[in-house]
């Protein structure tokens, strides 16, 4: 395997509604900032890959215009996944492993504010048996949460404490939407949104963009003082039907973690893409994270959840902390699909 590292990360402040800015206008400063921090121009980059969703934008081919933000002239070697940007990063990593590129620009973008995201995500479900009933994303998460609560592993208080920590951590994240000091007892006094989930258990609706630059070996060392090396990256998927899965566990995360080598060394921090409080608990168990691991120092997806971006942001946030020297070995995670159907795990290390 080639040594590949994240050498730069940039993101836009996550906001409830980016208003007048369209995807191109949101992406342009972020993509250019990521390139600038890496000291590379687009033409020096070997491969570009992005993640986004047409249904989020409400229009087909929504990723095509995003190219306008880059300056793709002369033409560039480029690809796109209809998935979170974390999987775009995976495709770019593969390209570098192949030797077809030594560096890559990866970005994800999404304006969740354009549509009713709870309903939009219903279209991810089985089109014959489930989607015609329009169960929304929060209801499905609530089914999962109840299954977890009734397994006796966790209580509603444990869920609230995840939210409290997320918001506390987010105070130092200028790009977060939800930050502050909240009291778990006060949160638990709030009514249910979709029982057993309360508002604090659910992610905010966010518009956002994130970009990272990957580089191989010596190039990474030359352009970055402390590259965040990708020591392992893997992703796995589970069956689609919720009724055949054990929703209290995340076997795909367990498998991806094993393949990515999470347990081959001590983990300092984890950035987990858990849009719901109970999902962070499921993921923590699946990854086998010990209590001393710093969890979601950015605040995670509970502090800002730009759909199609939030997974890539987790990887970028973890890498930034390694590059800053505040962590040596980190795990970053991204999820896709209803109730954690598909999961990606990435292990990052400093030199």
């Amino acid at each position: 395997m080639r040594e590949v590292a994240i050498v730069s990360f940039a993101q836009a402040p996550n906001v409830r509604d980016a208003g007048a800015k369209n995807e191109v206008e949101l992406l342009m400063p972020v993509a250019h900032a990521a390139l600038e921090r890496a000291g590379l121009t687009l033409q020096e980059i070997g491969f570009t890959c992005s993640g986004s969703s047409d249904y989020l934008a409400g229009a087909p081919f929504s990723f095509v215009m995003a190219i306008d933000a880059l300056g793709a002239w002369p033409p560039i070697s480029e690809s796109h996944v209809e998935m979170d940007g974390a999987w775009a990063l995976y495709e770019a990593w593969v390209k570098i492993q192949h030797g077809a590129a030594d560096s890559a620009l990866v970005y994800g973008f999404g304006k969740s504010s354009s549509g009713e995201i709870r309903d939009v995500l219903s279209l991810q479900l089985d089109p014959y048996y489930v989607a015609p009933l329009w169960p929304d994303s929060i209801s499905l998460a609530a089914l999962q949460a109840r299954a977890l609560l009734e397994s006796s592993r966790y209580s509603e208080k444990d869920l609230a404490e995840v939210a409290v920590r997320s918001r506390r951590n987010a105070r130092s994240n200028p790009n977060a939407q939800l930050a502050g000091d909240v009291d778990p007892a006060a949160l638990l006094a709030e009514p249910y949104l979709v029982s057993p989930l309360r508002k604090h258990d659910c992610p905010p609706i966010s518009d956002g963009v994130a970009a990272v630059v990957l580089a191989a070996g010596d190039l990474a060392r030359r352009i970055c003082q402390r590259p965040a090396w990708i020591r392992g990256i893997d992703h796995r998927i589970e069956p689609h039907s919720l009724g055949v899965r054990d929703l209290t566990r995340s076997p795909s995360t367990e498998l991806a973690a094993e393949k990515a080598g999470v347990q081959q060394g001590p983990i300092d921090l984890a950035e987990l893409h858990a849009p719901f409080t109970h999902q962070e608990l499921i993921l923590r168990d699946a990854l086998g994270l010990r209590d001393d691991v710093e969890l979601n120092p950015s605040g995670g997806a509970l502090a800002a959840n730009p759909v199609m971006v939030a997974g890539l942001t987790r990887i970028g946030e973890a890498a930034s902390r390694i590059s800053a020297g505040s962590a040596q070995r980190a795990v970053a995670h991204a999820t896709s699909g209803p109730c954690l159907q598909q999961n990606l795990v990435c292990v990052l290390e400093g030199e």
Binding site: Y128, L143, R146, L197, G243
Partner: protein, 150 residues
Amino acid sequence: MANPAEDVLSASYALEFSYTRSVGPVIGRFLTGLRDHRIEGVVGSDGKVIVPPTEYDPFTGAELESFVEVGQAGVVTSWAWMAEPRAHQPLDRPFAWALIRLDGADTALLHAVDAGDESRMSTGMRVKVRWREQTSGHIQDIACFEPEAG
């Protein structure tokens, strides 16, 4: 449609289409059953009965074609209380989304339970099908489920 307060031009629009989906033999058999007030599952690679029937085994990918009829009542394995139903959802008054393992099935089906009040819901409770008055071979032929006891 313009918002004069900011430099924003925004307008609402609907992405709207009625899709016509051919369903193939397995889904077709299940839906045909619903039309005739019958619920069928399919036997998976490990012998477990999957309801609603998947065309392919969720874990091995094998083609499945051995059907069995299952009961029209079963047990709630998890649920969520929808205090404020959204557009298109099966009921327009507060209801529960539930995963329901029908008698004779080994997996759960997702549908709505018309329980009236959250206090009547619990995991492990028994529910039964309420058929739509006119059935046509659609998952919505099951109008919803209702608590079995009263």
